[in-house]
Amino acid sequence: MKDLRLWGLKKSPWVYHVAAASCNNCDIEILELLTPRYDVERFGVVLVGSPRHADALLVTGVINRKSLPRVLEVYEQTPKPCLVIAIGTCACNCHIFRNSYNAVGPYDKHIPVHAYIPGCPPKPEAMIMGVVKALSKL
């Protein structure tokens, strides 16, 4: 039963894209994953419209006082088991906003993060690799 569940999770990770005050650069690169060039649908990855359907949250952008409660709410709305994948240097360690009065630290201070994909923005190949590594850790 556990193997079946793992197989299902690994073969069809549906992702929900949480853009928490990002500069839109990572988001464009995420959307590039769905285009014919990279076509992650062949791995079963689908971009879904509601966090209720999601298995993985792709969080982008530096987290700040305004976006933190929203991100936490989205995380709570996602049915478990779910992965959180921090995409971009902002999501991993706040990048140049590190000492800003508004930034409330990297994501792993607030929610468990399963994969960090640094880069500004990260290459689509890096994102695919990060998701694969996160899935193989399940």
């Binding site: 039963m1 079946l4 569940r5 197989w7 299902g8 999770l9 073969k11 069809s12 549906w14 014919p36 076509d39 649908e41 062949r42 791995f43 079963g44 879904v48 419209g49 509601s50 209720r52 359907h53 298995d55 709305q77 049915p79 478990k80 088991p81």
Partner: protein, 318 residues
């Protein structure tokens, strides 16, 4: 009626409706995604993809939103599956030669079928309304409008074969699906006439709308209202809705073949079925989403008059 459901036929019907139709539907779901991927110059998912999706959803946590009506929220997905299973049963018994003898079918088949097909949008509407989500409410209202839109032309299109059979035989056998199949076996399919072609086109558009595919995916516009009617569903109920859609994808083309294109009596039916499926998928891939008022206008002011013309032509005998 006593022999309608008895013995081994009951077993076959049970297995058929609860295993074969959903599995076939999921495979068709893959065909749909694969053809879409190829149209968009992509590779597309492997064939087990829909099964992996369903398996994952079944074993995932189910969240009932706070303040939602728990019973209605969790029961409404089952209503859709139940309706589709009954439609499968009706089509199975109408097409297996057993009914051509017109003993195992009962009067009112097509009307029952219309009601059963209405169960699916009903389950979507009720489930979405029970979830206490404003986006789902928008989706539910759109689903209701869309249903009101496509039901009128659909009924008019179904009237065409009924009128034809009623003219030559009698009303009782015209209302039986088995009667329609028997008529077509004797005099040739309805599709090979002017009114039949019009009716088939109307039913093709209706299939698209009933499946919620792209020109008419208004109730669950993913990019616009976050999957609309399905927004609050997670885990097993979502899987149930997806299975309902998959079963519909099998049964609606079968329905079109049964009522207009000679019934499922020989191997040609498979080719006809695949042709309809490919038409539906291509229509899905070459069209943008309509607004709800455009869809309603399309069904009411273009397809419904066409349907009336078809019925008149059927009366004349064309």
């Amino acid at each position: 009626m006593s022999s309608f459901l008895s013995g081994w036929r009951l077993v076959i019907a049970f297995i058929g409706t609860l295993i074969v139709v959903p599995v076939a539907g999921l495979i068709l779901n893959w065909v749909d995604r694969f053809v879409s991927a190829r149209v968009q110059w992509r590779k597309g998912p492997p064939f087990y993809q829909p099964f992996a999706d369903i398996l994952k959803l079944l074993l995932k946590q189910t969240i009932v939103p706070q303040g939602a009506s728990r019973t209605v929220f969790l029961l409404s997905p089952l209503v859709g599956i139940a309706g589709m299973s009954l439609v499968a049963l009706l089509l199975f018994f109408s097409n297996t030669g057993l009914v051509v003898a017109q003993k195992t079918s009962f009067i009112g088949d097509i009307i029952v079928l219309l009601y059963l097909l209405a169960l699916v949008p009903l389950s979507f509407i009720v489930g979405a309304s029970a979830s206490r989500n404003p986006v789902a409410a928008v989706g539910a209202s759109r689903e209701m409008t869309l249903y009101l839109g496509y039901e009128l032309p659909f009924v008019l299109a179904l009237l065409v074969p009924i009128v034809k059979v009623a003219q030559r035989w009698d009303v009782a056998s015209a209302l039986r699906i088995g009667g329609l199949v028997a008529y077509q076996q004797q005099y040739g399919p309805f599709l090979y006439s002017v009114s039949g072609v019009i009716a088939a086109v109307i039913i093709l558009f209706t299939i698209q709308a009933k499946l919620g595919y792209v020109p008419f995916d208004i109730p669950e516009a993913e990019q616009e209202i976050m999957s609309g009617v399905l927004v609050e569903y997670s885990g097993a109920p979502l899987a149930a809705f997806r299975i309902t859609r998959a079963m519909m994808f099998v049964l609606l083309p079968l329905l079109l073949i049964t009522v207009l294109w000679g019934g499922i009596t020989d191997w040609w039916a498979i080719l006809k079925f695949l042709l309809i499926v490919v038409l539906v998928v291509l229509m899905k891939n070459t069209n943008p989403r309509l607004r709800i008022d455009q869809a309603l206008g399309f069904f009411w002011f273009i397809l419904a008059p066409l349907g009336i013309i078809a019925v008149v032509l059927a009366f004349i005998g064309l």
